[in-house]
């Protein structure tokens, strides 16, 4: 990716549409959604259940493909990439944090981070261990490195997931309801972590249905029934 981190939009969505076709009917999940995500922003995609926010997030990370429209991520159009290419691209450019953590249950916290380093392939092997430790320290879990996910609380698991997402030092973190499965106190702690990352130069895009969390974004877009109903913050159209 070639960016001017301060000024260029990091992500551009242009008339993104997603239609699901069943035997009996067609369902439009997203309808001509367009927006841009500035570099270094804390960007919220907000909306009620069923508004299409997770689907939109999946489009941005290449997990899902739009029926029509374009997604340009760091100057690259990702829609045309093959599955394998997308996987490799994700490993290098995007760190994903899921609502339900999606840690590998048989690997320890440290091993989950090491796996991301191995799959990303950006660092030489001899640096993996140190980098994993560094990522866990960033989320204050260095002392829990040898614990299995089942031995960690929800908040700790989510922090490990964030550490894993940071392993390859991606410019962007994408989080789908990162606090959706946490109690309010822990949720604030985890969200605070994400805010801190933007201060360190990361761009964080997150999906939330929580208005309060959405309000803390520097930029946001609101969806309803698959359409953009409002935007706020210093947005520029692509």
């Amino acid at each position: 990716m070639v960016l001017d981190r301060q000024d260029d939009p990091l992500v551009q969505a242009e008339t993104v549409t997603k239609v699901i076709v069943n035997k009996s009917n067609e369902t439009t999940i997203l309808d001509s959604v367009s927006f841009t995500v500035p570099n270094g922003s804390l960007f919220a995609i907000n909306g009620p259940s069923g508004s299409g926010k997770s689907t939109l997030l999946n489009m941005l990370t290449g997990i899902d493909r739009p029926t029509s429209g374009r997604i340009v991520f760091g100057g690259e159009e990702i829609r045309k990439m093959s599955e394998n290419k997308l996987a490799q691209w994700r490993g290098k450019h995007v760190g994903i944090v899921f609502q339900f953590f999606q840690l590998l249950p048989t690997l320890t916290a440290q091993e989950n981070v090491l796996l991301a380093l191995e799959l990303g392939g950006l660092l030489p092997r001899r640096q993996w261990s140190a980098r994993a430790k560094e990522c866990l320290e960033m989320v204050d879990l260095a002392s829990y490195a040898k614990r299995l996910p089942s031995e960690l609380s929800g908040g700790q698991q989510q922090r490990v997931a964030i550490a894993r997402a940071l392993a390859n030092d991606p410019p962007v973190l994408v989080a789908d309801e990162p606090t959706g499965n946490l109690d309010s106190k822990t949720a604030l702690q985890v969200f605070g972590l994400l805010e801190e990352l933007t201060r360190r130069g990361k761009t964080v895009i997150y999906v939330t249905h929580d208005r309060d969390l959405a309000a803390r974004a520097t930029e946001r877009v609101d969806l309803l029934d698959g359409r953009v109903v409002s935007r706020s913050g210093a947005l520029r159209m692509g």
């Binding site: 999946n58 990370t61 290449g62 997990i63 899902d64 599955e83 394998n84 996987a87 490799q88 994700r90 490993g91 290098k92 994903i96 899921f98 339900f100 999606q102 840690l103 590998l104 249950p105 048989t106 690997l107 091993e111 989950n112 090491l114 796996l115 991301a116 380093l117 191995e118 799959l119 990303g120 392939g121 089942s150 894993r164 390859n168 499965n181």
Partner: protein
């Protein structure tokens, strides 16, 4: 160690039961294959060394006692290379459980035995009043060097000291033949049994292919010398080798079936593994893993399974091979030597044990890992299959079947590929069970039928043909005899195989005339023969045709006047029975008209106790008159024939156990995966009030549905498979008619239900123990 490598081993040890069962499945296949390969390789080598056909006679004449000087005349006959004359006495050896037949050969010069060579393996050559026993005689009685044994001599018993043990090349085990062999000094033998001269002439020829013509020539010489020939044997006995080959061939087929089942098991396991980890696959792809990397991960797991299974299977296979070698070596009286494991056999086992699982797993791994991230992360619960099960809802609703049972049945259609694999495995298991049951039933039915044509209670056989009058006179003193009839058997060669020329009295009452065509013998019939149904089927001959056959010294062409049902004389390369009046058979064999070798006896008291008591009385009377006869009741004969098949039955039922085990493992995997995938559904059921038992019932029903479907398929496929199996196995001992017992279908259903229930216990119990709170929350 890389995290991905750590994951491989953690995935292996995370599901220990599944890992264990998968490795066991692979190990079983490799164990069977390697043990059979090692054993058959060693047996064949040992057999080739030990049988040493050059040590066997090409022709053998059993005669009335005559002078050994005849050897010089015989030696000068065309094509004769070596002549060896021996005294030969069939007698009986008293053992704790009764007595058994013992054939004693008198040897003039133990250092210059040229035919039927033997090696001294223990003790010494015999001196006066001593006997050298065949080493495999130990299978008949517990006897050691220095022991004294009792043998029947002219109506009394005499004691002989065992000087040692020998191993005669090419002679099957005494346990298998159920008769012993011993060697004595020829002079000692003559003195003890008062049998002057020699009565057993063994020949080795320059040109083996001329053996029949040479045998006829030699018979003429005996006739010219006024020596009565009682029996002739032409050619070598390679039945044992053929038997061993056939047995090992069948066992190899069975071991390949076991490996095929292991493949199906592995397919199910790998499919289950990949399905279980779909979300993890999705997560790995979000972290940057390309499909090839994910595939390599799961194939690495299979590689570890393969290596572990091969190591275990090969180790046990070598041990199993050793046990098989020892067992068959003992049975066939072979000098086995040290266990030899050819490197090529190990390479083959390793290649199969590792390569086959990888190849088998490649397909499910390939298809399983093609899932997109979105699909993989879409969560637990009913997925896709719910639609497939929809139309069944209308059927079940109409039938008012409870919802929990409906759930179990409909879930079968959720994962069609997995269900199909399990179905195939269960069908193979059911078919194997049916094939084995049908085979044992066919063999049992055949054995019951073999002697239906012969209505005797006791069969009395003498080693060499004797005047019937002598036997009749001896039997006249036995109380409880109803009827007595003579019988004589002789193997003859035809263009369709070996026929059993059977001499009966034309007015027989003990031979059941089960005519299917033509007529029985009438007065005035000459050169007339009645053939068995098998002989008619194989030769294509019928009433009115002529059949040509030849013995060692005679040839004939007789016209067929009838066809009967008679299952005697069936075997590999056999034609069947050729019935003729006993006088005509004796004339063909150039025996006196009144000579017989077998007598059928019918008892007045045909209860089991009465027959056994009669057999004992006959034995006592005959031995007191110096007649060494082999006496067996009809029931004992059937039991003996059945015992010959015991090893076959043992092998077959072992295979059934193996296929049942693999079938159960396959279904276990399927149900375990079903439980795992439907944890949320289970939680919802429990939250609505379903007890653990109800939840277990859902999964047991799923397993049972699988079982019933496989039973239905086996009904269609299993019977032809059973037929083929009976045909295949019949080539080992005897080809038997296919007989099918309909109740086996019920037994098969029972068998499948047992397999299903065993396989369902674990998953159903696991489902019943699932806590609601765990299932309604993602892990």
């Amino acid at each position: 160690m890389r995290a991905s490598t750590v994951k491989v081993f953690k995935d292996i040890f995370h599901r220990q039961l599944r890992t264990t069962l998968t490795i066991v499945g692979i190990a079983i296949g490799i164990l069977g294959l390697s043990a059979i390969n090692i054993a058959s390789n060693q047996i064949r080598s040992s057999f080739a060394y030990t049988s040493d056909l050059s040590a066997q006679p090409d022709i053998q004449f059993f005669t009335a006692p005559t002078s050994a000087s005849l050897v010089s005349v015989l030696q000068h006959q065309p094509n004769v290379q070596v002549v060896q004359a021996e005294g030969y006495v069939p007698t009986r050896w008293t053992i704790p459980s009764g007595h058994i037949s013992l054939n004693i050969t008198g040897i003039e010069d133990f250092q210059h035995v040229q035919i039927n060579k033997f090696e001294l393996v223990e003790g010494n050559l015999p001196g006066a009043n001593q006997i050298l026993l065949e080493s495999s005689d130990k299978a008949l009685a517990n006897v050691h060097v220095g022991d004294q044994i009792e043998v029947s001599v002219r109506g009394t018993t005499q004691k002989l000291t065992v000087s040692g043990f020998a191993r005669t090349r090419g002679r099957p085990s005494s346990g298998l033949l159920e008769r012993g062999l011993g060697y004595m000094d020829e002079g000692d033998l003559e003195k003890l049994f008062q049998t002057p001269g020699v009565n057993n002439f063994l020949f080795q020829l320059h040109n083996y292919n001329q053996r029949n013509a040479t045998a006829r020539q030699l018979a003429q010489v005996f006739e010219q010398q006024h020596v009565l020939v009682l029996d002739i044997s032409v050619g070598h006995d390679d039945e044992t080798s053929a038997l061993a080959d056939g047995l090992f061939g069948t066992m190899r087929v069975l071991s390949i079936i076991a490996i095929l089942l292991s493949i199906f098991l592995l397919l199910g396991t790998v499919t289950a593994l990949v399905t279980e980890q779909l979300q993890i696959i999705g997560t790995m792809k979000t972290l940057g893993a390309v499909r090839g990397k994910v595939m390599r991960h799961y194939l690495s797991i299979v590689l570890v399974y393969g290596i572990a299974g091969t190591l275990i299977g090969l180790t046990l296979g070598v041990l199993g091979g050793y046990l098989l070698v020892s067992y068959f070596g003992n049975l066939l009286n072979l000098d086995i030597g040290a266990l030899d494991v050819p490197p090529l056999l190990i390479v083959e086992s390793v290649a199969i044990g590792i390569g086959v699982p990888l190849l088998a797993a490649a397909l499910p791994v390939y298809f399983g890992t093609r899932i997109t991230v979105r699909e993989a992360l879409s969560g637990y619960g009913l997925d896709g299959g719910g639609q497939r099960g929809g139309k069944w809802g209308r059927v079940f609703g109409f039938l008012a079947i409870p919802q929990t049972i409906q759930l179990g049945v409909r879930s079968l259609f959720r994962k069609r590929t997995r269900a199909l694999l399990t179905l195939i495995t269960l069908t193979i298991a059911g078919s194997a069970f049916l094939a084995v049951q049908t085979t044992t039933y066919s063999f049992g039915t055949f054995l019951d039928q073999v002697f239906t044509a012969y209505h005797f209670d006791v069969l009395v056989s003498v080693p060499n043909p004797e005047p019937y009058a002598r036997l009749q006179q001896a039997l006249a003193n036995v109380q409880g005899i109803g009827k007595v009839e003579p019988l004589i058997w002789s193997d003859v060669d035809t263009q369709w195989g070996t026929g059993l020329l059977t001499g009966v009295q034309p007015g027989t009452q003990l031979y059941q005339k089960q005519l299917v065509a033509g007529r029985w013998f009438a007065a005035g019939d000459q050169s007339a023969v009645i053939i068995s149904q098998d002989a008619a089927d194989k030769s294509g001959l019928g009433v009115g045709d002529s059949i040509s056959f030849h013995g060692a010294v005679s040839s004939a062409s007789w016209h067929i006047i009838g066809i009967v049902k008679d299952y005697n004389g069936i075997g590999p390369g056999s034609l069947g029975v050729l019935l003729a009046p006993i006088a005509e058979v004796n004339a063909f064999r150039r025996l006196p008209q009144d000579f017989v070798q077998t007598v059928m006896v019918q008892s007045r008291d045909n209860s089991s106790v009465g027959v056994n008591a009669l057999a004992t009385r006959i034995d006592t009377i005959l031995s007191s008159t110096g007649i060494q006869a082999n006496i067996i009741t009809a029931q004992q004969q059937i039991q003996r024939d059945q015992n010959e098949f015991q090893i076959l039955y043992a092998l077959l039922y072992t295979v059934v156990v193996i296929v049942a085990l693999v079938g159960a493992i396959g279904l276990f995997n399927t149900l375990a995966m079903s439980v795992l995938e439907r944890r949320r559904e289970i939680g919802i059921l429990r939250s609505m009030g379903a007890t653990g038992r109800k939840v277990a019932q859902v999964f047991w029903t799923e397993g049972l549905t699988q079982g019933i479907f496989s039973w239905l398929i086996t009904l269609a496929l299993g019977i032809p498979a059973a037929y083929g199996f009976v045909l295949l196995l019949g080539n080992i001992p005897v080809p038997v008619p296919f007989a099918f017992d309909m109740t086996n279908l019920i037994w098969m259903l029972g068998f499948i239900i047992v397999v299903v229930t065993i396989a369902s216990i674990g998953p159903a119990w696991g489902a019943a123990r699932v806590k609601v709170v765990q299932t309604l929350r993602y892990e």
